[in-house]
Amino acid sequence: MSSVSTLSATEGQERKIPIIKLGTFLLMLPLLLWLFLLIILPHVDLLMVSLREKLGYREYAFSFQNYIEFFTEPLYWNTFVRTAVMSIIATVITLIVGFPISYYIAKVMKGKKRSLLFMMCLIPFWVSELVRTFGWMILLRESGVISSFLQWAGIVDGPVEMLYNDASLMVGLVYTSMLFMVVPLVSVLDTLDDSLIEAGYDLGGNTFNILREIVIPHAMPGIASGCIVVFMLTLGNYLTPTLLGGKDGLWFTEQIYNQFITRFNWESGSAFGFLLLILSSAIVFVGLKLSRQTLADTVK
C-alpha cells in the first residue's frame, strides 16, 4: 500500500519537473550560451591546441611536449613562481591598505563625504590602464616629478631612479587593484551591524580584538572575494609588469604573449595559458581552504 502511494507521489513530482526545467532552461539560455561560446569553447580549443606538437609546416602530432617543456625548462617555471609570489604579495598589500580605507568608508564616513571618498577610489579607473601606468612612470622616473622634488628639496644630490624595479611594479599593481578590493570589502562591512562592534567594546574588547574576532570574521567572505579578484587580475596583468617592471621583471602573461605573438608558437602559448588557469585555480583553492571559506561564501 505504502509503496504504491510513494510511487504515485514521485510520479506526480516527475511530471512537474520537466516544465520547471524547460522554463528555467529558457531563462538561462543566454547565460548558458555565453558561458559555452565565450568561456568553455575557447578553453576547449586552447586545450586542443596545447596538446599538439608542431612537426613541420602544418604538420602536427598529439603530444604533451608543451607541458613537459614548462616543467623541465626552469625559466618558465621560475617565471610562473615569481609571478605567483609577486601576485600574492600584491594581494596581501592591497588587502592591508584597502581594509582600513574600506572600514573608514563603510563605518566611519556618512552621507556625502562617504560617496566622495568612494569616488576617489574610483577615479583612477576613469582613465585607461595604459594612461594610469604612464602616470606612474612620469612620477617615478629618474627625470620625473618625485626625483626632481627630492633634488629640489635637497634630500638627494643626484637624480634617483624609482622605476624599473620590483618595488615600483608592486606600487603599480596595488594601485591598479585597489578598487577591486575596496568594493567587496565596503559592501561586506556595510552589512556589519554597528551594534556588534559596540557590543564588543561594551563587553571589554579593545579595537584590536574586536577587529580580529568580530570585524574580520564577518568580513571574511568579502576579504576572500576581494583577494581572489585582485590575485587573478594581478596574475593576468600584462601592461603594468611590462612597463614598470624593468629589465629583470619577468611576468608569466608576458611569457604567454610572447609565445603567441612574437614566437608564433600557439601550442606552447596555449599550454602556458592552460597551466596558468589550473595553477591559479589551485592557489585560490588553497587560499580558500586556509581561510576556511567556500567559493559560494564569497559570492554571497
Partner: protein
C-alpha cells in the same frame, strides 16, 4: 614612424586565437570600404581624405606591428582586413606556415611608380611557389640613436656594453637586437639563416654577450614613444633604435641623432600584401597605386619620417629630412645597409629562447 605598440592585452590575444565565433559578424563589410592593417604614420588622415575624395572609398586604418599583424591574420585565416603591410622578410614564412595571404596581381599595379631595384628585391623575397605576395612601400633602417656629446665613443651595437655608459643605454628585447649584436660581434647571421646549427651557435654567443651586458641597460624599451622619452630626458644616452626616432630627436636637440653602426644599419622594407580573405581587392590596388604617387608618398614620408619606394618622391621630401638622412648615411654606410632576408621558419623559436634567457638572467 615604425613605432611598435605592444599594448595588445593578453586577453585580446587569447580571444583572437579562440573566439572565432565573433568573426562571423565582422564579415559583413560594406562594399566601399578598405580595411587597412598597417603601421602608425603609413596612412595619414590627409591622405585618407584625398583618397576618399578621389575614389569614394573609406579607409579604415588599424595600426599594428609585424607580430600582431601575423597573429591577427593567423587567427582569422587571413580575414578581417583587405590590405596588410608586413615587413618583406616576414611574408613568405608566414605564408608557408599559415596561408594567410593571397598572391598579388602585378598587372593591377603601376610598377612605373616604384624604384625598380626595390620592387624587384621585394618581389624576389616574397615569392612562394612562384607567386608574388608583396610589393614594397616604406623602408628604413635601425641602428644607433646617440647623444653624440656624451656617447660619441659608441660606434657599434657592442659598444652599448661599454661600462662608461652603465645604466644609460637601452635596446629592445626583440630579434633585430639579436641580429644587430651578431653583426657587431663580427658574425653574419643572415648567412646562417639556412643553417640552424650555425645560427644556434651565433645566437648562443649573442646570448652570452647580452647577458653580460644586462647590467649596463637601464631598461628594455617597448614602445617607440617610451624610448624617445628616455633619450629626450637624458636618462638614456645611447640606444638601438630606428632611424626616424633619431631624426625626430635631432630636431629638438642637435646633439642627438641617428648613427649607422660600423657593422652596418639593418634595413627593413614594409610591403603591401593581400590577406587571403580580402573582400575589396580592387580598392586595395587603388590604394597602392594612389599612395605610390610621388606627391602622396612624400606626404607619407613627412608623417612617418621614413622614405618610400616611390620613384621621384624625393623631389617632394622636406629638405631637413633629406639633410638628416645624408648626415646619418654617408655613401659607404648606405652601401653597408644589411637588408633583412626572408626569415625561414624555426629561427623564431631559437631566438625566442635566447630572448627569454636574457630576460630571465640576473643583471648583476
Amino acid at each position: 614612424m615604425k613605432s611598435a605598440k605592444t599594448t595588445l592585452s593578453l586577453k585580446k590575444a587569447i580571444l583572437g586565437v579562440t573566439a572565432i565565433v565573433g568573426l562571423a559578424f565582422s564579415a559583413q563589410a560594406q562594399a566601399e570600404e578598405l580595411r587597412l592593417l598597417t603601421w602608425g604614420g603609413y596612412a595619414p588622415d590627409a591622405v585618407v581624405e584625398q583618397f576618399k575624395a578621389e575614389t569614394g572609398i573609406d579607409v579604415k586604418v588599424t595600426k599594428s606591428n609585424n607580430e600582431e599583424m601575423i597573429a591577427k591574420l593567423r587567427a582569422t585565416g587571413g580575414g578581417g582586413f583587405d590590405l596588410a603591410q608586413p615587413s618583406q622578410d616576414r611574408i613568405s614564412g608566414a605564408q608557408i606556415e599559415n596561408r594567410i595571404y593571397k598572391p598579388m596581381d602585378l598587372s593591377k599595379i603601376d610598377s612605373s611608380q616604384f624604384i625598380s631595384s626595390m620592387l624587384e628585391a621585394t618581389k624576389a623575397n616574397t615569392t612562394v611557389d612562384g607567386e608574388v605576395y608583396g610589393v614594397p612601400h616604406v623602408w628604413g633602417t635601425s641602428g644607433l640613436v646617440l647623444d653624440t656629446k656624451k656617447a660619441g665613443d659608441v660606434k657599434d651595437y657592442a659598444d652599448l656594453c661599454n661600462e662608461a655608459h652603465a645604466g644609460k643605454v637601452s635596446y629592445r628585447l626583440k630579434r633585430p637586437t639579436l641580429i644587430g649584436f651578431a653583426f657587431s660581434m663580427g658574425m653574419d647571421p643572415f648567412e646562417a639563416y639556412g643553417d640552424t646549427a650555425k645560427y644556434q651557435e651565433i645566437m648562443d654567443k649573442v646570448e652570452a654577450k647580452l647577458i653580460s651586458c644586462k647590467a649596463n641597460v637601464k631598461t628594455y624599451w617597448e614602445g617607440g614613444d617610451a624610448l624617445l622619452n628616455l633619450v629626450r630626458s637624458g636618462e638614456v644616452v645611447a640606444a638601438m633604435a630606428w632611424d626616424t626616432g633619431g631624426w625626430k630627436l635631432n630636431g629638438d636637440n642637435p646633439d642627438v641623432t641617428f648613427v649607422a653602426p660600423a657593422s652596418g644599419a639593418l634595413g627593413w622594407i614594409d610591403t603591401f600584401a593581400l590577406p587571403r580573405k580580402t573582400e575589396n581587392e580592387e580598392a586595395a590596388y587603388k590604394w597602392i597605386n594612389f599612395v605610390m604617387r610621388p606627391e602622396i608618398a612624400a606626404q607619407i614620408t613627412a608623417e612617418a619620417g621614413n622614405f618610400t619606394a616611390s620613384k621621384g618622391a624625393d623631389a617632394f621630401a622636406e629638405d631637413k629630412l633629406k639633410a638628416q638622412f645624408q648626415a646619418s648615411f654617408p655613401e659607404q654606410d648606405l652601401n653597408n645597409i644589411k637588408w633583412y632576408p626572408t626569415v625561414p621558419a624555426g629561427l623564431e623559436t631559437i631566438e625566442g629562447k635566447v630572448l627569454d634567457r636574457v630576460k630571465a638572467a640576473s643583471s648583476n
